[in-house]
């Protein structure tokens, strides 16, 4: 019999206008010693299920149906009793280690408190137990670090502390809600290895909630797929990923960027829009298409940027060198990738190219003109037309108070002040259709659109001035994997038809492999290597690149 059995679980939230059914009759089982992955896109209900198990659902949500049977006992029968299970039988960890710990208590205090809540141990015994736990999760100098405060630990270390807190009272079930999403790839693999080891050593039953298919492939034994509150299918990981039965699962799996080869387009199985087989992009009619020569459109020479913390101290104690002597070139018409983890400087470089900051030293040449030396605004405007950017967060990149048509028309009106209003409207409609949005979208407000659609609006805005260079800063990192596939396809199409040059920035290696011709790898502000994409993936020369490729979660690993 399974250790944990979730029967017909339903959770709904009564909102002011409607009731949201976050989970609908979900049936899941987990055994000891196995890791069950719970995967789904945003809104699938996976987190809800995790929280529902220990009844951490906040109002106005409530568990409306179903039972949760742990080791033979229905733990929801008596709602008062649930607190006894929390921590003692069931441990739960969250996504963000930064906010999961109380900043004003030492981790030792937080550990001892948790231990003494459930086990009757003296302070001395509790302390010893805590220190052993810290060692077990891989924290060096456990004795001295016992008295440290959370802010004295780095992100990965903090997550280890969080894991130790969740396990300190010897629970038998561990629920991990996106435990590595906020961490860098290298740290991510360490934490996942830790979880795997603990599962074996303590014979835990583990539910690993994530949206990352690569993580699922490498870490889980079985997997449950959820969509919009429904359980789509559940089974051994290998089976589900290699031979998915349901359409949704198939489309999910095919949307994941392959890590082992380059494909031209992502296969979209579930199409939400009516036929848009018309591959001719509307905006092409107005576009002054530039011919592609083999020269360099952008040249970055010895670029450096240092950020200072305070204005008045001259000491460089607080300064951060975000970008350190980076040089590379981007050819016309090519798609150039800039890859690195957080703190690598990739975003900073992008922001300097679009002139959001000035470099501390070094130069940027666009079309053979040194744009870093331009002082006058008027001169700069000419270049602003040609270099545009799309951003990571679809929610903050559009001004919620303006209608879509105002957002898109702003750059047009700025650079073509004499455009007639009819021309303007037509131009806007063309732009919207080119990003596969209807003409009616123009009259709507951003909050009426989904994340993916908002990114399309951003793209339309960026294309409005007919730029030659489009800088894409993590454009799909905040989107679900199926939406990501659509947006990436769109970008590919646009590039092809409009002869755009693209600078693609991401931390996600598989995505970069699909989108770029050449790639530069950055670490801590320094350039590690630049190669053609296939070269880089098959024959990386720098150690760091090798490490990244090694550690990135691959969905293909399921075949091993």
């Amino acid at each position: 019999m399974s250790f944990l059995k979730i029967n017909d679980l339903s959770v709904d939230y009564k909102m002011r206008r409607e009731t949201i059914y976050a989970a609908k009759n979900v049936n899941i089982d987990v055994n000891r010693g196995e890791i069950l992955g719970l995967v789904g896109e945003s809104g699938s209900g996976k987190s809800t299920v995790g929280n529902a198990i220990i009844n951490l659902i906040d109002e106005p949500g409530r568990v409306s149906n179903g039972s949760i049977v742990l080791d033979g006992i229905d733990i929801h029968k008596d709602p008062e009793n649930i607190t006894k299970y929390r921590g003692k039988k069931i441990g739960l960890i969250f996504q963000d280690p930064q906010t999961s710990l109380n900043p004003i208590l030492t981790i030792g205090e937080q550990l001892i408190e948790t231990i003494q809540t459930h086990l009757s141990l003296s302070s001395e015994e509790a302390k010893n137990k805590s220190i052993n736990l810290l060692k077990e999760v891989g924290i060096k100098d456990a004795e001295s670090r016992f008295n440290n405060y959370p802010h004295q630990f780095s992100g990965g270390m903090r997550q280890r502390v969080v894991i130790s807190l969740a396990l300190c009272c010897e629970p038998e079930l561990l629920i991990a809600d996106e435990p590595t999403t906020a961490l860098d790839v290298s740290i991510q693999s360490q934490i996942l290895d830790l979880i795997k080891r603990l599962t074996k050593e303590r014979n835990l039953a583990v539910i690993l909630i994530t949206h990352d298919m690569g993580v699922i492939a490498e870490t889980t034994d079985r997997v449950a797929v959820m969509k919009n509150g429904d359980l789509v299918e559940i089974g051994p990981t290998k089976e589900i990923l290699t031979k998915p039965k349901e359409i949704y699962t198939r489309s999910l799996v095919s949307s994941v960027p392959p890590t082992d080869k380059k494909i031209s387009r992502f296969k979209i199985i579930e199409k939400e829009k009516k036929g848009q087989s018309d591959t001719n992009i509307k905006i092409l009619n107005r576009w002054v298409k530039k011919e592609i020569s083999n020269k360099d459109l952008v040249q970055i020479k010895n670029l450096s940027k240092t950020f200072d913390d305070s204005f008045f101290t001259e000491s460089s104690k607080n300064s951060v060198m975000a970008v350190n002597d980076v040089s590379f070139n981007i050819k016309e018409g090519e798609s150039f990738g800039l890859v690195g983890e957080s703190g690598s400087g990739k975003s900073t470089i992008a922001k300097m190219i679009v002139n959001l900051f000035r470099p501390t030293s070094g130069d940027i040449y666009f079309n053979d003109v040194c744009i870093t030396k331009i002082k006058s605004n008027k001169e700069m405007m000419k270049f602003r037309k040609q270099i545009q950017m799309i951003f990571q967060d679809p929610y903050s990149s559009l001004n919620g108070r303006l209608k879509v048509k105002d957002i898109v028309s702003e750059p047009i009106k700025l650079h073509n002040p004499s455009i007639s209003s009819i021309d303007l409207d037509n131009y806007i409609f063309d732009l919207l259709e080119s990003v596969e949005l209807s003409q009616q979208s123009a009259e709507r407000y951003p909050h009426e659109f989904s994340g993916g659609q908002r990114q399309r609006i951003s793209i339309a805005r960026a294309l409005a001035t007919q730029p030659r260079l489009l800088v894409c800063d993590e454009p799909t990192s905040a989107l679900d994997v199926s939406i990501q596939a659509q947006i990436l396809n769109l970008l590919k199409d646009l590039q092809e038809q409009l002869n755009l040059t693209i600078l693609f920035i991401s931390h996600d290696l598989p995505v970069v492999r699909q989108m770029c011709d050449r790639i530069a790898v950055l670490k801590n502000g320094k350039l590690c290597e630049i190669s053609k994409t296939e070269e880089l993936f098959k024959n990386p020369s720098h150690n760091y690149t090798k490490e990244l490729l090694e550690l990135m979660p691959k969905i293909e690993s399921i075949y091993n």
């Binding site: 220990i54 951490l56 607190t83 006894k84 299970y85 929390r86 921590g87 003692k88 441990g91 739960l92 960890i93 969250f94 963000d96 906010t99 999961s100 710990l101 109380n102 900043p103 004003i104 208590l105 030492t106 408190e113 948790t114 809540t117 459930h118 440290n148 405060y149 802010h151 004295q152 969080v162 807190l165 969740a166 009272c169």
Partner: protein
């Protein structure tokens, strides 16, 4: 501080002709010139300013225009009255404000919470002087149990005269201090409540719940401790505000403190008192800010431990 001194000084000198304000109209021109000379008003500005600062740091502010007595004497006479009032009010406001704030923050719904909140909103809407008048009317006129003005008997301790040691003194301080504290107390209640509510939504509280920590412990050990941090800043500013609002309360209750003095000064454009009061207030505020910063250092480990790491 220097900025404040400068402002006071400019007040002193440029607002109206000091001489005209000080002497009556019958004084002859010669006598005025003489006075000017003695007071050093003919000296260049920077000399006057430095003299001002030197004098000020020794507590010497010149002579009140209106009352013809040294300002420093006036202030030291009135100081204890105001300070006693402020201290009692501060204690009442902080203690009850925090308690009620925590209660309403934890129990978000419920009749008692709503009532407290409604009353606190009322408290913010009531101008201090109205409360004062109402209290006087209620307790002094109708019920007749508490005095309606004055300080009661005071005991002179040499440099300080206190009303704490006499029954009438204690009785007299009740109404004014409650009046004074009311406005601040309601503000604190709302602030603490907002803090508590925000904290209770954080991830670390959620995680604590997920670990099975008891609700009571969560509220007091985890949430409250974090919530008190911003309250300390507020407490500091609070004392400052209380001193300012004491002006009103003192007027209503005819409490012989510095605030009352200041009002008279404003009415009669008595510059020395005004500038002295300003300097004094500034000094108090700077001291309070300083103390608050030190307190922060001790309470928030994020600040304390980082500095140790840098130096050690």
């Amino acid at each position: 501080m220097l900025v404040v001194a400068f402002v006071s000084f400019s007040l002193f000198n440029f607002v109206g002709d000091p001489i005209n304000n000080m002497v009556g109209e019958e004084t002859s021109d010669e006598e005025r010139a003489e006075l000017r000379e003695t007071l050093g008003l003919n000296d260049p500005v920077y000399m006057q300013f430095s003299r001002f600062v030197v004098n000020a740091s020794q507590g010497e502010f010149g002579i009140s225009y209106q009352l013809r007595r040294p300002v420093s004497d006036l202030i030291s006479e009135r100081l204890p009255a105001t300070l006693e009032l402020v201290i009692i009010s501060a204690i009442i406001a902080l203690v009850s404000g925090t308690l009620l704030g925590v209660y309403t923050g934890i129990n978000r719904k419920g009749f008692l919470s709503d009532t407290i909140l409604a009353i606190s909103l009322l408290g913010v809407s009531l101008p201090t002087f109205v409360i004062g008048i109402l209290f006087i009317y209620l307790f002094a006129v109708i019920l007749g149990i508490l005095p309606s003005f004055g300080r009661g008997e005071v005991v002179d301790l040499g440099f300080w005269s206190t009303g704490f040691l006499t029954i009438s003194g204690l009785k007299a301080i009740i109404l004014p201090s409650v009046t004074l504290s009311l406005f601040q107390m309601t503000y604190i209640i709302r602030l603490v409540r907002a803090e508590m509510m925000e904290i209770l939504q954080t991830d670390y509280i959620k995680f604590a719940r997920a670990r099975g920590i008891k609700e009571k412990s969560i509220h007091y050990k985890h949430a409250l401790k974090n919530g008190l941090i911003p309250v300390i800043t507020i407490a500091g500013i609070n004392i400052g505000t209380l001193i300012a609002f004491s002006i009103i309360t003192e007027t209503v209750f005819q409490w012989p403190g510095m605030g009352f003095l200041f009002i008279q000064a404003v009415k009669f454009v008595d510059i020395p008192i005004m500038s002295a009061y300003l300097v004094f207030i500034a000094f108090v505020f700077v001291m309070i800010n300083f103390i608050v910063d030190i307190l922060y250092y001790f309470i928030d480990p994020r600040i304390r431990v980082k500095s140790e790491a840098v130096s050690g």
